[in-house]
């Protein structure tokens, strides 16, 4: 077994000490693995690789996760196919229509994808053994375990600290309709970003569509992704970003950009992001092992470095972020999201003109 562990990894696991018991970063020695994990690993090694259609993580963290997985389980390569969630889903449905099996692990930010795939019987049920180590909100996403929520995207408000003093900054979503922000706000587009779609559905539930009609009077700049406003704030083109992702904003702040985050008093938007294994996955064991990995500590530690909130209670939040138990979360139910997104896309285009 030792032959497959690279010297670098051996050194690292030596430094990490035996306390980690193979759960921490670095290669887990097969003999240290629990029986179910060892079995999966052996089967997965025969498959040699897996393909991950990912709309959840950006390219960088996505690749870091793939890398960490291959380090933990030598001999299994991860092909990360990064895109927006809609494109990832489009690819998957194109695959399915064409009768091509390419995808082993599908992660998007849109709950509707999974409800649909489940109804069509296109998913392979699986539940990682460590699911109960995650925060309670995600432990029972689907009663049939056709998919699991292994990621939560948090979306909130960001400001440019050079142009907006902390005291003047908006405190809530509601504050964004204040006319004093005329011409200063930036926001993504529900037609291009699943997260912005969920935001629109949730805020409509909270305040009615009237909220967006008022927001439009402030002439926010509409981009595509939820992260587009971050770029505009960095450049100083706009000063208040609506519905930006916590991770991207914190990353940008860590590079020295003049940004600050606001957890809205009326609730930080939580987007529950499921992952699933397609029924026709060409490498099902590698996919199951990957799902185990995603629910584990090593994954949480990797994504934390990219300012993504770990769902495990035993891994601290990223620098600059509050832990889950200090944040008021708001969200919409999967049903509301599935029904609501097509509706808010249309309304959005009527209200904002694009």
């Amino acid at each position: 077994m030792n032959r497959v562990i690279s010297p670098r990894l051996t050194k690292r696991s030596f430094l990490a000490g035996s306390a980690a018991l193979g759960l921490g970063a670095g290669a887990a020695r097969a003999e240290d693995m629990p029986a179910h994990e060892r079995e999966l690993y052996e089967a997965a090694k025969k498959e040699g690789e897996l393909t991950w259609y990912s709309g959840q993580l950006q390219a960088e963290p996505g690749e870091a996760v793939g890398h960490a997985f291959s380090q933990a389980y030598p001999g299994i390569k991860v092909n990360v196919v990064r895109s927006t969630s809609q494109v990832a889903y489009q690819r998957l449905s194109q695959d399915m229509q064409a009768g091509v099996a390419q995808c082993d692990f599908f992660s998007s930010t849109d709950y509707g994808h999974y409800l649909f795939l489940k109804r069509e019987g296109k998913l392979l049920p699986y539940r990682p053994h460590t699911m109960d180590d995650l925060i309670p909100e995600v432990r029972n996403a689907d009663p049939d375990n056709m998919f699991q929520v292994l990621n939560i995207g948090l979306y909130l408000i960001a400001t440019n600290t050079r142009k907006v003093q902390a005291a003047d900054a908006p405190k809530s979503w509601k504050d964004l309709t204040d006319p004093k922000w005329l011409g200063q706000e930036a926001v993504g587009h529900p037609g291009y970003s699943g997260a912005v779609g969920v935001m629109a559905v949730t805020l409509q539930k909270l305040y009615g569509w009237d909220f967006f009609t008022k927001l439009e009077k402030n002439k926010p700049q509409v981009g595509r992704s939820a992260d587009d406003p971050v770029t505009l704030l960095n450049a100083g083109e706009r000063t208040v970003g609506m519905g930006v992702s916590l991770a991207t904003t914190l990353l940008s702040m860590s590079r020295g950009n003049p940004l600050s985050i606001v957890y809205p008093t009326d609730g930080t938007l939580a987007v529950y992001c499921p992952s699933a294994i397609p029924k026709n996955a060409p490498h099902p064991n590698a996919a199951k092992l990957f799902m185990e990995f995603t629910a584990g500590q090593a994954y949480a530690k990797v994504v934390r470095n990219f300012f993504i909130m770990p769902l495990r209670t035993d891994v601290p939040p990223p620098d600059g972020a509050l832990p889950f138990d200090k944040i008021k979360l708001i969200s919409a139910t999967p049903k509301e999201i599935e029904d609501g997104i097509p509706e808010v896309k249309e309304k959005w285009r009527d209200t904002f003109g694009v």
Binding site: T51, Q58, A59, E60, E63, G66, H67, N79, V80, V81, R82, S83, T84, Q86, V87, Y89, Q90, S93, Q94, D95, Q97, A98, G99, V100, Q102, D110, G112, H113, N160, H189, G191, Y192, Q221, V222, G223, R224, S225, D227, D228, P229, V230, T231, L232, L233, N234, A235, G236, E237, R238, T248, S252, R255, G256, N257, P258, L259, K345, R349, G353, V354
Partner: protein
């Protein structure tokens, strides 16, 4: 005796000339690459998801004012882009070709620079320059004048048209300059003798002579602008302008409505037909024009101080179209944090080292880009040469049909083409989805018009006499092409190859729906990065792409000659 025998056998079986088989194969390939995806698209547009014949998709596609308006926006935008491009390009072409303006090499470098700058990079550069609040130009304007309103705003209809014109004026420059280079000074002299000044001679004699070329270039710019996706998405959406291509993208949203998108795309194909007809009419007029490749003296028109004014205009266009956008992108690519602006402590090469040493797919995307582009360029040039040969020598009756097939992809928006290719080739029996082959074929089909235009005008320079001589001396059709025609055209074919290669390296819209796990290209990676709120790394990757392109252009200049990209073969 043997002669008689074989003669008799030939008569009996009417064996076709081997070349004829090649033409049949060529037709089949073109049909497969161009007509088949389009036919599939047409079929899809006329059927419901479950395969029942319907016109309903057209009703859905054009049943809402917003959808129709998007198409209208595209047409107006493309016309404006073409008009602005003419204003940029024609004076530059005239000054470079006909006058004693100094600094022609510099102008040439600037035009080449705007030609090779990928449109989406230029668009991002212009957001940084002309954003109404933080754009450099507006900051400078406010600082100088104390004004509160911005001088320029990229997020407007005109802003979008200008940015698109900056990206596409080189096409008209190429067309206009190559035509102007052929007009002999004698015509202007005649006008001068009859009392016309320089200005009148240019307006009444020179320009009318090259008018068909200018209009031809403008039509190509128009069609390219209608089909552009990147810039309208990056600038148009914040400006709240829907265009046909961003509307098409919306039809591909979840739940994907390929059949509606197909229906929506059909009028764009009608516009192509219209434009081809217009061009045909113009070419017919061109027969009257006294343009010859040889003879006639060409002297630069002598200007006094006015020549510096001409240079100033050329430099201004070059500054706006390439120098400023590249400078701001360069600054971003070396910045730790874009928001901190110019400061020594903010400088870093980390964005580059990250991409080259630590990014898992940047290197493979660079490799993919290189070999997909190389393969598709080779394929396209070979196909184009053969088609151009058939067309120019009128070997078969439907030759003009072949020319149309070869030119048609030019106006099929990249995303439509990608979906057509997807519909046609992804599923069995081809089962090409996720392979390099589908991308290479799509790139080949998409850029065939460039290779074809190149090959066909090159073919025009080879008189059939030489081939006829070879054939009279006993060479077969294919032998003649291989030994006479191709060597004569070697340089222009290589030029065509490089142009296709360069445009393929930056192709986004056809790639984005066809890439699989192992086939991601740099353009797709750039697009992913453009949504990720990380302009610093995006700019660095953009610069790597630009550097690669420059190296290739350098090769081209070395091998084919300085003007290889800016000349109509």
């Amino acid at each position: 005796m043997t002669n008689e025998e074989s003669f008799g056998r030939k008569r009996a079986f009417r064996l076709p000339e081997p070349a004829t088989l090649v033409w049949i194969a060529l037709t089949a390939v073109l049909l497969l690459l161009v007509a088949f995806p389009l036919a599939k698209l047409l079929l899809v547009s006329l059927h419901t998801r479950s395969g029942v014949f319907t016109f309903g998709n057209y009703l859905t596609a054009y049943g809402r004012a917003r959808y129709v308006e998007s198409l209208w926006n595209s047409l107006v935008l493309a016309s404006e882009t073409a008009a602005i491009s003419v204003v940029f390009a024609v004076p530059m072409a005239w000054a470079t070709s006909r006058t004693n303006m100094p600094g022609k090499t510099l102008v040439w470098v600037l035009v080449l620079g705007s030609f090779i700058l990928p449109p989406y990079l230029g668009a991002i550069g212009w957001i940084l320059l002309a954003g109404p609040n933080a754009g450099f130009i507006n900051q400078a304007w406010r600082w100088v004048t104390g004004a509160t309103d911005p001088l320029v705003n990229v997020y407007t209809f005109n802003g979008l048209a200008f940015v698109m014109a900056f990206q596409s004026f080189p096409l008209i420059f190429i067309f206009a300059k190559s035509a102007l280079d052929l007009v002999s000074s004698e015509m202007e002299d005649a006008a001068n003798i009859l009392g016309a000044g320089t200005w009148t001679a240019m307006r009444k004699v020179t320009l009318p002579l090259v008018w068909p070329s200018i209009l031809g270039g403008a039509i190509i710019v128009f069609l390219e602008a209608v089909a552009l996706f990147g810039t309208p998405a990056i600038i148009g959406i914040p400006a709240r302008i829907n265009t046909a291509t961003t509307q098409l993208w919306q039809f591909f949203e979840y739940p994907v409505r390929v059949e509606v998108a197909a229906a929506y795309a059909m009028p764009l194909l009608l516009i192509t037909l219209l434009m081809v007809a217009v061009q045909r009419l113009m070419l017919r007029r061109k027969g009257f024009v006294a343009q010859t490749g040889k003879g006639g003296e060409r002297r630069p028109i002598q200007f006094g101080p006015g020549r510096f004014a001409l240079l100033g205009y050329c430099l201004l266009v070059g500054l706006l179209s390439v120098v400023l956008p590249v400078l701001v992108l360069g600054e971003a690519s070396f910045a730790r944090a874009w928001g901190r602006g110019l400061a020594f402590s903010n400088l870093t090469v980390d964005n580059y080292t990250f991409l080259i040493f630590r990014h898992e797919t940047a290197l493979s995307s660079i490799w993919n880009t290189l070999w997909f582009s190389g393969a598709s360029a080779s394929l396209a040039v070979v196909l184009a040469l053969l088609v151009a040969y058939v067309v120019s020598r009128k070997l078969v009756r439907f030759a003009s049909g072949l020319a149309f097939l070869a030119m048609a992809p030019f106006v099929i928006p990249g995303i439509v083409m990608a979906i057509g290719f997807y519909a046609a080739f992804a599923a069995p029996p081809f089962a090409l989805y996720g392979t390099a082959a589908i991308i290479i074929l799509a790139f080949c089909a998409r850029f065939l018009p460039i290779a074809y235009a190149n090959a066909s005008s090159a073919m025009g320079t080879v008189h059939p006499e030489m081939e006829e001589a070879a054939r009279i001396l006993g060479s077969g059709r294919l032998g003649t092409i291989a030994r006479i025609t191709a060597p004569l055209l070697k340089r222009s074919l290589l030029g065509g190859w490089l142009i296709v290669f360069i445009v393929a390296t930056r192709e986004l819209s056809a790639a984005i729906f066809l890439v699989g796990p192992n086939t991601r290209t740099m353009a797709v990676l750039l697009y992913d990065l453009s949504e990720a709120g990380n302009f610093e790394v995006l700019s660095a990757l953009g610069f790597i792409l630009l550097a690669m392109t420059l190296v290739l252009v350098g090769f081209g200049i070395k091998l084919v000659g300085r003007d290889f990209m800016l000349r109509r073969a």
